[in-house]
């Protein structure tokens, strides 16, 4: 079964400190992973997908198949990074596709 685990419900760091939001997955196929972010009072939006290997707003995430992880990292956190972050796995089910989400991590960046 497909599963996404975000072990930390809450994460608090100070501005300028490095931040890492953890994500582990279980999936028998070839995984496609995403990070979604929800800022206060806004809709969820895509932050990163592993296929594009890009850096968005200073965040990066590397897929580690050996450790089945897709941790989100930023070297210097900013206050505007405070938000809810969801890791998601794209999976196939009977010919159709869906995304399975982790339970989310609430990041607070303190001044």
């Amino acid at each position: 079964a497909q599963r996404v685990t975000q072990p930390e419900k809450l994460l608090s760091v100070f501005k300028g400190a490095p931040v890492e939001l953890k994500c582990n997955y279980s999936y028998s196929g070839s995984p496609e992973l995403f990070w979604y972010v929800q800022y206060s009072r806004q809709r969820l939006q895509l932050l990163l997908r592993h296929i594009s290997r890009e850096s968005i707003k200073g965040f990066t995430a590397d897929l580690n198949k050996g450790e089945t992880s897709f941790h989100l990292k930023k070297p210097f956190a900013q206050e505007e990074d405070s938000a809810m972050y969801y890791c998601a796995l794209r999976s196939s089910q009977g010919g159709s596709e869906k995304l399975v989400f982790g339970k989310g991590t609430k990041l607070t960046v303190n001044p």
Binding site: G94, S96, F101, G104
Partner: protein, 112 residues
Amino acid sequence: DVKVTQSSRYLVKRTGEKVFLECVQDMDHENMFWYRQDPGLGLRLIYFSYDVKMKEKGDIPEGYSVSREKKERFSLILESASTNQTSMYLCVTGETNTGELFFGEGSRLTVL
């Protein structure tokens, strides 16, 4: 710019009432989803649809049904609302090729 519009931002209903949550998208996406978002539980998939008149159960379909009569519209129905269905409901569309999802603003339902 993709637009996913949910008809009601806030609803208050009584136990046993029938509830319709409507969602319309303007990007011609085939895939549409209904999730509920609860603190500490994250996003859980209720139903999804990959074509008109097609629907698939998600992880928590009990107590819900859906309707997709037109490609751009995906409705979530609670036949008889219960208090444990108090939640934020998110309508989502998906691009088939990239897997990227686009979210509506959400409908916060309170069942008294």
